[in-house]
Structure formats: structure tokens, C-alpha cells
Assembly symmetry: C2
Homo-oligomer: 182 residues x 2
């Protein structure tokens, strides 16, 4: 049936790269690279299935998530966090507004701003999706002690770029280095 050569690792990689730059094949972290790929694939897969029932995609989930988690988020903030263009955001945001998952409120100080808030309907969706993902996370953390959990958190944080952090990342990392007091 599956009579394929499935010995792990490339067949003698160093001997084949006749013209390749031979870049430190030994110390590459293939293990973590692949684990991250599969873990993230299944992690987002949980939400993907549920989203189909709503006629939404991942893009809608991301918007709903951050609007729910950071109430009063401005459109510009959302663009920073998601790193997409306003045209892309506009499409999904319009749908979420039209279908009553999100509401806009004009900014108090700056009336140009549209502050975004999740409606109860939106909250329910976000909570449902986060519940599925939390189930997976809780399962995965079950047999890991507090020190291990701390290491996981530290690792994930250290994987994130800290240059030019957006408002959400500032909140997550508690960047108190902007406007120290004043």
C-alpha cells in the first residue's frame, strides 16, 4: 500500500547541495517549526468549522475577537492589529455591522472616530469560538505544571515582534514606556 521511503529527515542533505549555500542544517528547529504548523492549523480549525454555520470566515472572527476584547477599539487600531488594508477590513466590518454583531459609536473627543463595540449577539459568537479554542488549550495544558505553563507563556510572548507594537500588543505586554507619567 504505502510503500514509500518514510525515513525521517532528508536523505543525506549535506551531500546533495552541490550548489547550495549549506546553511547550518544541523541546528534548525524542524521540530518546533512543524509543531507550530500543526498546532495552529488545528487551533484555528476549531473556530473555522463553527464559523461556517454563521456564513463567516476567519477574517470575521479576528475582527469580532478584538472588538469584543478591546471595547471602543478604533478602526485605525484594528487596522494596526490585523495588518490589513482598510478596504479589506471594510468588507467584513460592514457585514458584521449590518448583521448586528458590532455597533459603532462616534468618539467623544474626536467625532471622526468610530469606536467599535460588540453587541450581545457578537459577544455570544466570540464566546462560543473562544470556548472551543479554550477547550483545546485546557486539554493541552492539563498535565503541565505551573512552571511549564509559565514557560509556554514566556515562549509565546518571546516569539512576538516587539518593535512598533500596536495598541493591543501594548495592552498585552503592559508597555508602560509610553508617556511614563506626565
Amino acid at each position: 500500500m504505502t510503500d514509500i521511503n518514510f525515513s525521517r529527515g532528508p536523505t543525506n542533505p549535506d551531500s546533495q547541495g552541490a550548489t547550495s549555500p549549506a546553511p547550518r542544517l544541523a541546528e534548525l528547529r524542524w521540530d518546533i517549526i512543524e509543531l507550530l504548523f500543526f498546532a495552529y492549523r488545528d487551533f484555528v480549525g476549531d473556530a473555522d468549522h463553527e464559523l461556517e454555520a454563521f456564513g463567516f470566515g476567519r477574517a470575521h472572527h479576528r475582527v469580532m475577537h478584538f472588538v469584543y476584547r478591546y471595547p471602543g477599539l478604533k478602526v485605525a487600531d484594528l487596522l494596526d492589529v490585523l495588518r490589513i488594508t482598510k478596504q479589506s477590513l471594510g468588507r467584513v466590518l460592514k457585514q458584521l455591522l449590518d448583521e448586528g454583531y458590532i455597533v459603532q459609536k462616534t468618539g467623544n473627543n474626536d467625532r471622526r472616530q468610530r469606536l467599535l463595540y460588540a453587541t450581545p449577539k457578537g459577544e455570544a459568537l466570540v464566546a462560543k469560538l473562544a470556548g472551543l479554542q479554550t477547550d483545546r488549550i485546557t486539554r493541552a495544558l492539563r498535565d503541565i505544571n505551573p512552571e511549564g505553563v509559565a514557560a509556554i507563556s514566556q515562549f509565546l510572548r518571546a516569539m512576538i515582534d516587539r518593535d512598533d507594537p500596536d495598541k493591543v500588543l501594548e495592552a498585552i505586554f503592559g508597555t508602560g514606556s509610553k508617556k511614563p507619567r506626565e
Copy 2:
């Protein structure tokens, strides 16, 4: 300037959900959910930038990666791993074949099969991308002790679905439970 309400967490979420199912908002792992989002975004971002120089996208990277790592992978295996349709795979695979990053060899036992192998050119690309990602991983693991690293590995493994594992996952997890001896 940014005079937005940025207090963490939704404003009293339980009081707003008049009609929502109020699903255990307390114990949701928002922290890990968001860390995974940002960590994965920046993790794949490393490769994305480099891929632009080659005129390739993420799809090409995934194919190259697994073909390099598991030499002699069949097309069908690749479809299982990537969980895409053969039409989608066909497009990127054709490009990679045409441009000399991958070669096909007819299966020895089953001449219908096309076994896939990375060329030196393909190996160089994969190694370059894996190098970038390894740099980030190594940096993130720098201050974590061996027990912590073990916990991270255990966590990522436990995040992955084990029902119906593909050939790559079997290799990663060393599933010796199929055809125990016989």
C-alpha cells in the same frame, strides 16, 4: 491623541449579554488565544518576506517544506498533510516542478505514484526559510530551561488532533500503533 477607552477586557461582559447564553466567560484562555495569534503571525511573517523575493507564497513554502523534510512523499500524502484539494496543490506544485525546486520520480512498486523530492535549489530555499524561523525560535527559547522547553513541546503536541493522523504526523508522533508487529 489616542483618547480611547483601553481598559483591558470587555466592559462588564456579563451584564450586557441580555439574551446571550452567558457561556463561562471567566475561564476562557484569552491570554493563550491571543499569544498564539500574534506568535504565529510573526512566525510565518519571517518566511513571507523572504518568499516575495522568489515570487512564491505561503502555499509554496508549505509544499517545499514537507517535500524536503519527508523525501519521497506522494502527492496523496501531501494532500493529507496540507488538507487542500489536488487542484490547489496542483497549481503550486506545477510551478515548483517547472522552476526546478522539486523533482518527481515514478514509484518503484506502484508506477502510478509520483514521489516528490527537493532539488538542491529547493533545499536551499527551505533551509533559508527554516533558518529565519529557527532564529526566532532560538531567541524565544534562550532563557527557558530544559524543563520549560519540554513543556512547550508537550503543549504544542497536545494541541494537535490525533484522530486520523496523516503520514507526517505519524512520523512526528511515532505512531507505532498501526500494524503492531505482524
